[in-house]
């Protein structure tokens, strides 16, 4: 925000909390990337790292929530300040869930390794990588939109979400084919279905964050509305 409050301390508090959100966002973004890397390389070590980061992410959510409550209690924010803080609250909840999805993927990798599946079964891990790239890009764009309060960027994220959904549907069909052709892959294929679903959820969280950005800037709640309504709201 370009202009300043009469209270510079209030400005400092708001900018600090926004920065913490972005820091948390950076952390979960790398968690997702690492978990997908762990899957592609069957790396138990990387999967363990992802799980270690999860505690840090959870702690950050709690800390930011506490800061948030303190600001609301002490400043009684209104209008766009209040909208920012409400959006921060929603955004960190979404980020924490993104972290959960990354942890879910990491645990799947550990299980696949422990049951000795590993790379001898040719599973469509590369396709998952493509879906994950899309989801990570969406998350990054949503965080970018949050940092710059950029509604055009936020709108782009909302529009792109369909791509991930289509990718997920395609993967599902592919995995069904694998299972039918070689029943020995059923167990691990089901694991991959859950991984694909986790990645698809990451995209959904990016979308929720983008909706929060539009709420901050325009004061419009665009959840559960049509794309043309969203476009009207940010015009």
């Amino acid at each position: 925000m370009s202009d300043k409050h009469l209270s510079t301390q209030f400005d400092a508090e708001l900018s600090a909390i926004s920065n913490r959100v972005l820091e948390m966002g950076g952390l979960v973004e790398s968690q997702v990337a690492q978990s997908v890397y762990a899957l592609s390389q069957f790396s138990g070590e990387t999967a363990t790292q992802v799980l270690q980061h999860e505690e840090r992410v959870n702690a950050m959510e709690v800390e930011i929530d506490a800061d948030l409550s303190a600001i609301i209690a002490r400043r009684q924010p209104t209008a766009r300040d209040l909208r920012l803080l409400i959006a921060v609250s929603k955004t960190i909840a979404n980020l924490e869930r993104v972290g959960d999805e990354a942890a879910r993927i990491a645990r799947t990798v550990q299980r696949l390794i422990n049951t000795g599946v590993s790379s001898r079964l040719r599973l469509p891990v590369a396709d998952l990588g493509f879906e994950a790239d899309l989801a990570i890009a969406q998350l990054r764009k949503a965080l970018d939109a949050f940092a710059r309060l950029d509604t055009a960027q936020a709108l782009q994220v909302l529009k792109n979400d369909d791509q991930i959904d289509q990718e997920f549907d395609g993967l599902l069909r592919k995995l069904i084919t694998y299972m039918m052709e070689d029943p020995r892959t059923i167990s691990s294929s089901i694991d991959l279905v859950f991984v694909a679903k986790a990645i698809e959820r990451v995209g959904d969280h990016a979308k929720n964050i983008s909706e929060a950005v539009i709420y901050i800037v325009k004061g419009a709640d665009v959840r559960h509305t049509s794309m043309s309504d969203v476009e009207d709201a940010i015009r």
Partner: protein, 265 residues
């Protein structure tokens, strides 16, 4: 000169009063510039804005307080509905206006009289002779101001023996005794502690079922708590008028947002 941004409710309640293009001059200084806005019946309308924005000046036009000083001049009109009388018209008696539109001030200002006589004052001015009528009215007004229980056994004591919060409620009772249609509150709690403030705010919430209320407050959270509609004024102009929840969540004008969020304009 900017124009006002006025957002009326989708289903407007009945109007109690309306200012039409109201200008006001202190001598040659123009303190109000073309203020037009509705005052809805049985609603609380809050006037907010920085010092010197004209909100108290606007409030005082409603009961012709400015008549008391020479050189002041009104232009435009304030219509009191439903009879559509212009309270600013020269042929309208200001005393009668003040019976219909009464006022509660920033500092509690009980008269140096007994509690009973403070409340009965307006009725005496009206030349009300019936003792039982006056007694009934005083009791009703004190009940309306949520003070009866505390003073019923000491009506003969001086009003100034009461605490600050009680004195303010006494002034509200005095305002209520003449059955006004509108009550004007000019920063009614700025001299009170948080508990007394809370009880006055609670009272405003109850009074609005009987009268329409116009309140000037410097305390933005108070405006947010007690009012149904908010008018933001700046340099004698009405900048924005709208529903309280819209003004505090998503005002339409940047100037309003800067003010309520505590930013430089």
């Amino acid at each position: 000169m900017s124009t006002s941004t006025i957002t009326l409710p989708d289903h407007p309640p009945p109007l109690k009063a309306r200012s039409n293009n109201l200008d006001f001059y202190y001598g040659s200084f123009k303190a109000l510039k073309g203020v037009s806005m509705p005052i809805y019946e049985n609603k609380v309308t809050a006037l907010i804005g920085p010092s010197g924005c004209g909100k108290s000046t606007y409030l005082r036009c409603f009961n012709r307080m400015h008549d008391l000083y020479p050189g002041n001049r009104y232009d435009g009109e304030i219509q009191l509905l439903p009879d559509a009388v212009n309270v600013l018209a020269k042929d309208v008696d200001p005393i009668e206006v003040r019976m219909r539109i009464s006022m509660v001030f920033q500092k509690p200002n009980p008269f140096p009289k007994t509690i009973f006589e403070n409340v009965a004052y307006g009725l005496r001015v009206r030349n009300e002779k019936s003792r039982s009528y006056v007694e009934d009215k005083v009791e009703a007004a004190l009940k309306g101001a949520a003070l009866w229980g505390e003073v019923r056994d000491r009506l003969d004591e001086s009003g100034s023996n009461l605490s600050g919060g009680q004195q303010q409620r006494l002034c509200i009772a005095r305002a209520l005794a003449t059955d006004p249609e509108i009550i004007l509150f000019d920063e009614p709690t700025s001299a009170l502690d948080p508990i007394a403030t809370g009880s006055i705010e609670e009272l405003i919430g109850e009074l609005k079922h009987k009268v329409s209320i116009l309140i000037v407050t410097h305390n933005m959270q108070q405006a947010a708590r007690v009012s149904d509609h908010v008018a933001y004024m700046y340099l004698g102009e009405l900048i924005e008028y709208g529903a309280t929840r819209d003004i505090f969540m998503k005002p339409k004008r940047r100037e309003t947002e800067d003010y309520i969020t505590g930013r430089f304009g």
